[in-house]
Every structure is written in structure tokens, then in C-alpha cells.
Amino acid sequence: MIVFIIRRLLQSVVALLIMSVLIFVGVYAIGNPVDILINPQADQIEIARVTAALGLDQPLWVQYWEFLKHALSGNLGRSFAQNVPAMQLILERMPATVELALCAMVIAVALGIPLGLVAGMKPDSWYSKTIMAGSILGFSLPTFWVGLVLIMVFSVMLGWLPSTGRGQTTLLFGVPVSFLNWDGLTHLAMPALNLALFKLSLLIRLTRAGTREAMLQDYVKFARAKGLPMRRVVLVHVLKNIMIPIVTVIGLEFGSVIAFAIVTESIFAWPGMGKLLIDSINVLDRPVIVAYVLIIVFMFVLINLVVDLLYSALDPRVRLSEMTA
């Protein structure tokens, strides 16, 4: 177990290092930041001075080493556009994204698992087929287009929900959140639903497949033979056994929800990290792009590690020391 954790941690560090090299080479070595930072009329001496001041006259590996040293102490550079530390800019936006992602996940789980159970118990009934058709649609619908249609229906035609922004926020343990007041909730509803749709379809399919398989098992037959009501068999016996893959996927998908929030945030002008990334790409704010990517990579590595550990805790049959992952 400990060997596994250490090996997994080492792998995570390697993944982070590889990504940081790629990002560094990609963002810093291609193009010259001096061209953007300096007055175009500057003479050669001035350009040389700024280049030296930024450390751009050093060999690439020296630049990377400097970058890495700063990064390890939490300094990922200052935003060109807003002249504040990039890290601070992202951390300010993070609560909005995390709130959106968590709400989307809650919607997906609260709807997806019951619907999947129903569809798995009676796979040939009309409602199961409707649920499955819906999930295929949910997979196929491009997220951004669903967002547009939601705005079209609920904001433009019906006028029920606001189409942009985060609305009023309430402080919860010092963090601003939207879900604690009505105005914030109305702003949150559409983006969260939009983001949840894909994961909802995924969870329905996963739960259905698990349920179908579990219903054929001997322990279900035995529980039925004991005279237990169907409700109890499904909610206690079946659910417990299909939870393992579901929890894994929920964990792994959380990372991708945060990534996909980029799209949803752009559509609904939700002031999160994803919108910040798109804005930064548009104005070539390199430090923010690099900081965003490194933070996201770090989050992903962390999530993958936690899911792996959770997996072994949930399923005693999985022996981590034997896993090659």
C-alpha cells in the first residue's frame, strides 16, 4: 500500500514536470514576449536591456530552471494584462468554478443514478427506452449548443432566468457562493444544468449497465427468494455493489467537469477560471495561461491519486500493490 502510494506520487511528480516543460517550451519559447511588452519604437539597446531584465537572454534550460524555482515557491509570474500575480487572479476565480462544477455534479448524481437504476431494472419497458434515448441525445448534444438553446428558451422566450453573470453572492466561510440566495440560484440554474447534462448521460449509462449485470447475480435471486421487497433489494443490495465503478467515475469526471466549465462559463459569462483562461488566451496573457494549466494539471493529478486510493478503500478485492497503474 505504502509502496503504491509512493510510486503513484512519484508518477504524479513526473507528470507535473513533463507538463511544466511542455507548457514552458510551448508558451515561452514560441514567439517573443518582448515584442508584446515593449514599445514598438524602442531601439536595439532598449530591447536588449528588457530582454536581459526578463532573463530571456539566458539559455532555455536556465530560463526553465528559474521558472521552476519560482513556481515551486508559488510564484507563477504576473499577469501582463492586469499586473497582479497570475496565481492570485486564478485563486480569486476558483470558488465560482468549483461551485458550478459541484452543483453540476450534484445534479448529475441526483438524477443519473435513480434514472439508471430504473432503466436497468426493466430494460425493455418504454420508459427505460426513453431514458436511454435521452442519454444518447445527452452524449451527442454539444455542450455549447445546449447552453445556447437554454438561453434561447429560458431567457429570451420565457424570460424566467437571467442569461449571464453570477448574480448576488453570499459569504460562506469567507468564500462567496451563489446558491444561498434566490438571485444567485436563478443565475446558477442554467449553467449548472448545462454542465451537468453530459455527466448525467454518462451516469445513467453506467448505472444501467451495472444494474443489468447485478440483477442476474445469485445474491439478488437469493435476496428475492428470502422474500425481501424489490425496493430493498435494489436500494441496498444492488446499489452497494454497483457503487464502486460509479464512485470512481464521479471522481475522475470531476476534473473533466472543471475543464468543460471553460465552455459553459464562456456562454453564460460565469466569472470563473475557465472564462479567465479564454480571456487570457485572447489577449495573449501568457503567465495566466501557464498558471491556469499548471494549476489544472496539479488538480488532475491530485484527483487521480485520490480516486485510486478511494477505489482500494471501497473494494477490498483491489490490491493496490499489484496494480500497475
Binding site: 451527442s140 454539444p142 445556447l148 442569461s163 479564454i278 487521480n304
Partner: protein, 295 residues
């Protein structure tokens, strides 16, 4: 390869495929869409990118409306007076073209890398598969976004980005299939004949790894199209000179809030129908080509 069976494998696959009416209708829709994309210049009411044919007076005509010179706009027109139906036909061309091209390129690259990993094993395999693992643990949209942020805009750039996010799927699948195949007797026989490794890999092993690849490639085309549309919508994909469906939707987004829904809605519908049709075909192909499900 002629074997003494009643039906050729192709006929079996075709008849199995036709067993699902849903998949068959998906295929029919897909064929229509492909036809529309290929024949776009012939069937479009106007050339939407020939400025001489556009009239700014015709801008934002609602669906079914008629312009001053008597032309009917079945799906309305955009802010430049461009017929949306024509724009969608041309957009399909670009979207499908980029999707198919990037999928084929990714397939070729992933195939070679996956076969290499399975055949040579050892540290080559470890390095390749670790790379695949790391890449697949990140969502494709994130990788594509970062790549485009670095590379900049352009059709070639977006194809590169789409290939970069897709190759790993193929590499992993090919390796899995090839690992099973390499220990089979026909491979041993080929080795005994002292055939060159390249020939064994591409003429003997590869054809036997194809079924799962075909399925993944079909579904990946849909993914690639959706991803390209998303990136274009975010303003990081296609340049304005190559208006794919995603770009059309992005153009209409600003007019959506003022109630002019058709500029975004119909290109989105075309995108949706294309993706659903491809997914339906892909789903059925998966069932048909899966040896475990054969009766």
C-alpha cells in the same frame, strides 16, 4: 480471402447492421448529410461567400421569409444577408472535412505507435503507454485549448490539435488488440517464414486489429466535429475565412439575445443531427463487430 462459408464476412456485417432500423436510418441521414456537404456548391440557393450575391438589405430575414428580389430564405439569413441554408451546407463541408481528416491522421499515427508498443514491448512499450495514460487522464478539450493557445489560429493548427488529442485512443486500442494477436499461431507461422517484421505487422496483425479501430474511428469523427465546433465557438478554432458550423453558431450567438434565434439555432441543429447520426452508426457497428455478441 475466400473461405467456404455461406456468406462473406462483409455480407454478414451488412445484414447484421441492417437489423436495427434506428442504425439504418442513422446511416441514411449520414449519407444525406455527406451528399449535401459534397454537393454544397450545386444545391445551395446561393454561394454564401460570394459577396456579389449578398445583399445587406436581406439581413436577418426570419425563416421562410422572402427578400425584395423574390428569393426565399428557408432557414432565414444572417446579419450579412447570407442564406443560412447555404451557409450550413458549406459549413458542413468544412466541419466534416476537418473531422474526417484529423481522425484519419490520428488513426494512422496511433496505429503505428500502438503496433510498435505491442510488438517491441520492453521500455519502448512502457514509455509509450505511460505517455498515453498521462494524456488520456486529461480532457481533450483542455489539451486542444492549450495547444491552440500556443499554436494560434488556422485550419492546419486545429487539425494538429485534433490529431494530438485523438492519437492516444487509437494507440491504446491497437496495442490491446495487437497484444492478443501477436501470440497467435498465424503470427508464429509468418515469423517461421522469415517475413520481415514490417510485413507481419501491417499485413498480418493489423487486419485482425481493425474491427475495434473502425468502431472507435467512427465515434471519434463525431467527437472531432463536436470539439472543432466548440473550439471555433470559443473563438480559438477555425479562422473567419473557413466558416465551419461552430463558427456559424458563434456568429449567431450575439443575435440570439435579441430573439433572432435562427442564425445560431439551425447550424446547431445541423451539427446535432450529424453527431447523432454518426453515433447511431457507431453504436450499431460496435455491436455488429463485437465477436462476443455474435450469435
Amino acid at each position: 480471402m475466400s473461405v467456404a462459408v455461406e456468406r462473406s464476412p462483409f455480407a454478414r456485417i451488412a445484414s447484421d447492421f441492417a437489423a436495427s432500423r434506428l442504425a439504418l436510418s442513422g446511416l441514411a441521414v449520414l449519407a444525406l448529410i455527406l451528399l449535401a456537404a459534397i454537393a454544397a456548391p450545386l444545391i445551395s440557393p446561393q454561394n454564401p461567400y460570394d459577396l456579389a450575391q449578398l445583399d445587406i438589405m436581406d439581413s436577418k430575414i426570419p425563416p421562410g421569409g422572402v427578400s425584395a428580389d423574390g428569393m426565399r430564405f428557408w432557414l432565414g439569413s444572417d446579419d450579412q444577408g447570407r442564406d443560412m441554408l447555404s451557409a450550413i451546407f458549406y459549413g458542413l463541408r468544412i466541419s466534416l472535412g476537418v473531422g474526417v481528416l484529423s481522425t484519419l491522421a490520428a488513426l494512422a499515427i496511433g496505429l503505428v505507435i500502438g503496433l510498435t508498443a505491442a510488438w517491441f514491448g520492453g521500455w519502448v512499450e512502457t514509455v509509450i503507454m505511460r505517455l498515453v495514460d498521462i494524456q488520456l487522464s486529461f480532457p481533450s478539450i483542455l489539451i486542444a485549448l492549450v495547444l491552440l493557445a500556443v499554436l494560434g489560429q488556422g485550419v492546419d493548427k486545429i487539425v494538429i490539435a485534433l490529431v494530438a488529442v485523438q492519437w492516444a485512443y487509437y494507440a491504446r486500442t491497437v496495442r490491446g488488440a495487437a497484444l492478443v494477436e501477436r501470440n497467435k499461431e498465424y503470427v508464429e507461422a509468418a515469423q517461421c517464414l522469415a517475413l520481415p517484421t514490417r510485413r507481419i505487422l501491417f499485413h498480418h496483425v493489423l487486419p485482425n486489429c481493425l474491427p475495434p479501430l473502425i468502431v472507435i474511428a467512427t465515434v471519434q469523427v463525431a467527437h472531432a466535429i463536436a470539439l472543432e465546433a466548440t473550439l471555433s465557438f470559443l473563438g480559438l478554432g477555425m479562422p473567419i475565412t473557413s466558416p465551419s458550423l461552430g463558427l456559424l453558431i458563434a456568429n449567431g450567438f450575439t443575435h440570439l439575445l435579441s430573439g433572432k434565434y435562427w442564425i445560431s439555432f439551425f447550424p446547431g441543429l445541423a451539427l446535432l443531427v450529424t453527431i447523432v447520426a454518426i453515433n447511431l452508426v457507431g453504436d450499431q457497428l460496435r455491436d455488429v463487430l463485437n465477436p462476443r455478441l455474435q450469435k
